[in-house]
């Protein structure tokens, strides 16, 4: 037809085609045995393998040639779902004949295909230009699909879930710690950062020193910061009455919490000040001229107009904290990082994934939800 193929479709369709030829899964006789690759036709029953190949070819064709975003979305989402089902099927098939200690994990072919399809799906969603509610609905649909797959037991043959079954209670407990660390430090950072942002917006000469100081804190490597905090927090625990009873100590959650809070301050303070500075001069002039008190000017005019920028700061902080909270496990702070570091210690990739995958998912969900919230604000025009 003389029409050039889709710009994103060429690399992603190509990647998907290549991924078909690479091992879908990896098989190990036991948890720490060396991994053996298993191709598509080795890992899956013939009917499944043929179905996957057929669908994948259709997805490549659509990625290359189709223009309508709805069609691109439907086909790549369907293929992604099929891939997720297939890897579960591979787990079941490969471990069926073997010993009970056999481990089946997704292989490089699976990861490449999943990556290409995820890019194609998100690209199709972007081309559809959904409103904030549409994006939330897409997120809810994706989470529902994931939940159904987990509940149905389709993935029970996979090694990540084998690791989960061994430590289900710990998984949820550490998940709770992770959320406490990420959201708790965010809450404190908002409570401290927004007033500080307002203060430096009003007293301009403090703006540069405060922001520079916070930037400096931001540059301290996280592990170093944990180490630095051990001494003062240990001192507080030993010398301030009641502090130890509240859980303050040199290692554990307290230093992790404080470190996350410190990293959160710069985005909160800088975005609050930037949001307030972006309020048009005529608007603040009119608010004062109409007879609003300073407090009323702030509460009913300046903060509402700065809110989208402040929420963007909250989004940055939350995504950053969800990721950083992983490191808290190093100093006994708990969280999903516990599994990551255990896995690293035992060279058990599946255990690392058990910690890493929920962290990535949490950060992604937080980003989508907060982006949608920013767009849903009444002042969201333009």
């Amino acid at each position: 037809m003389g029409r050039s193929p889709d710009k994103l479709g060429v690399p992603m369709g190509g990647l998907l085609a290549v991924a078909l030829a690479l091992p879908l899964a990896s098989y190990r006789a036991n948890r720490i045995a060396p991994a053996e690759p298993r191709g598509l036709f080795e890992a899956l029953p013939l009917s499944w393998a043929l179905a996957v190949v057929g669908l994948a070819l259709a997805a490549v064709a659509v990625a290359l040639a189709a223009r309508r975003p709805a069609l691109r979305l439907a086909v790549s989402a369907l293929m992604l779902l099929a891939l997720l089902m297939a890897i579960g099927e591979a787990g079941r098939t490969l471990s069926a004949g073997g010993a009970q200690y056999a481990r089946v994990a997704p292989g490089v072919g699976f990861w490449l295909a999943a990556f290409a399809l995820a890019i194609l799906v998100t690209d199709a969603i972007v081309r559809l230009r959904p409103g904030p509610l549409g994006r939330l609905a897409a997120l809810a649909a994706a989470l529902a699909a994931l939940g159904l797959i987990l509940v149905s037991g389709q993935w029970d043959g996979l090694s990540v879930l084998a690791e989960y079954r061994g430590r289900a209670a710990a998984f949820w407990r550490e998940g709770g710690h992770h959320l406490q660390l990420a959201f708790g430090s965010l809450a404190v950072a908002v409570a401290a950062g927004v007033p500080l942002g307002i203060a430096i917006h009003r007293a301009r000469r403090f703006k540069a020193p405060v922001l520079n100081g916070l930037s400096l804190l931001q540059t301290i490597p996280s592990i170093a910061l944990f180490g630095i905090l051990i001494v003062p927090l240990g001192w507080v625990a030993a010398n301030v009455p009641g502090a130890a009873a509240l859980g303050v100590q040199g290692i554990g959650m307290a230093p992790a919490f404080v470190a996350l809070f410190i990293y959160s301050l710069l985005p909160m303070v800088a975005n609050t000040a930037a949001g307030l500075a972006a309020v048009p001069a005529g608007v603040t002039e009119a608010a004062a001229g109409m007879g609003l008190t300073r407090r009323q000017q702030l509460a009913s005019v300046e903060l509402p107009l700065a809110l989208p920028v402040i929420l963007t700061g909250i989004r940055i902080v939350l995504v950053q904290n969800i990721g950083l909270a992983t490191i808290a496990a190093l100093i006994g702070g708990g969280g999903f990082g516990t599994f990551v570091f255990q896995g690293l210690g035992q060279t058990a990739t599946d255990l690392i994934l058990l910690g890493a995958l929920p962290t990535v998912a949490l950060a992604f969900v937080a980003a989508v939800v907060l982006d949608a919230t920013v767009d849903l604000l009444p002042g969201a025009r333009r």
Partner: protein, 312 residues
């Protein structure tokens, strides 16, 4: 009645407004005109204490403004500015209701007042009230800004270059509308502009400011015919002066018995309008009609031209 006594503002020892004294009658329009940097905006902003004076007093109806809380003073004074300053996250209705809400008016009274003001400013309340400012044209935004300033029936209205952001055609209409509203409501207005034509068109009295001082405070005709200083004279503009002067004079006193050819002109027009009509239609005289349309005589080119040369 607003009395301003020795009003002065200094920034770091440098005077921006120097010792300004003037009395403003209630129900009149006073225009402060001057080039940028003349201190006219700072002067205006000292009246509602957005800028606190270094020295001097402002009294409104005998009450020293320093004896009120600044925000309470401002709620009694309407304020309209060049880029309208409408709150972008509020609807037009909510914007207009700003001061009545601050004053705690009951809901129904606020709603009625918003409607009344939109109608006064020739905006359809049902269509405009629920809109957001960015959905309006520049002229509509300016009118909503004026409606917001008038909302709580203020003692006086301060306007800082209120028409500065409008294109010339809309600006002329907005000036006419403001004049009509002012005459109808009897508002006291203090307006700042850099445009002498605007000052002559709107002002009952004009204060010409330069380098922080009031050079002259007088009715428009006096500013034109008896400029107090070279600065005032340069602002008036020599080549435009006769036409500006004619625009201040009504036709009525020059009407003489007699008839003339062609379409008539109403007594409500200025001599400038009459001259323009004579030049464009090539006539020596125009028939004049009164407000009811009854013929009352004529005005001649000769009478008009000699009236345009003021006594000095």
């Amino acid at each position: 009645m607003i009395r301003i006594e020795g009003l002065t503002k200094e920034y770091a020892g440098k005077a921006v407004v120097r010792d300004v004294t003037m009395a403003i009658e209630s129900g009149t329009v006073t225009v402060i005109v001057g080039t940028s940097g003349s201190g006219k905006s700072t002067f205006l902003r000292m009246v509602n204490r957005l800028v606190e004076p270094t020295a001097g007093t402002v009294e409104i109806d005998g009450v020293d403004t320093r004896r009120m809380k600044a925000h309470e003073l401002r709620r009694r004074i309407g304020y309209a500015i060049q880029d309208h300053g409408l709150f972008p996250h509020w609807t037009v209705a909510r914007n207009i209701a700003t001061v009545p809400r601050l004053l705690g008016w009951p809901r129904a009274r606020i709603a009625a007042r918003v409607r009344e003001l939109l109608e006064l400013l020739q905006l359809d309340p049902d269509e405009i009230a629920p809109r957001y400012p960015h959905q309006l044209s520049g002229g509509q935004q300016q009118r909503v800004g004026v409606a917001r300033a008038l909302a709580a029936r203020p003692d006086m209205l301060l306007m800082d270059e209120p028409f500065g952001a409008l294109d010339p055609v809309i600006r002329a209409k907005a000036q006419d509308d403001l004049k009509a509203i002012q005459e109808r409501l009897g508002s006291t207005i203090l307006l700042v502009t850099h445009d002498m034509s605007e000052a002559i068109k709107l002002g009952d009295r004009i204060a010409v400011m330069s380098e922080g001082r009031v050079e002259q405070f007088a009715p428009p005709a006096d500013i034109l015919t008896r400029p107090a200083s070279a600065v005032v004279e340069s602002l008036v503009g020599e080549e435009d002066r006769p036409f500006r002067y004619l625009s201040l004079l009504p036709i009525a006193p020059l009407v003489e018995p007699g008839t003339a050819e062609g379409p008539p002109i109403g007594t409500g027009h200025s001599l400038r309008d009459a001259l323009a009509e004579m030049i464009w239609s090539g006539r020596q005289a125009l028939p004049v009609v009164d407000d009811e349309g009854a013929a009352c005589g004529r005005v001649t080119r000769g009478a008009l031209l000699s009236a345009g040369r003021p006594p000095r």
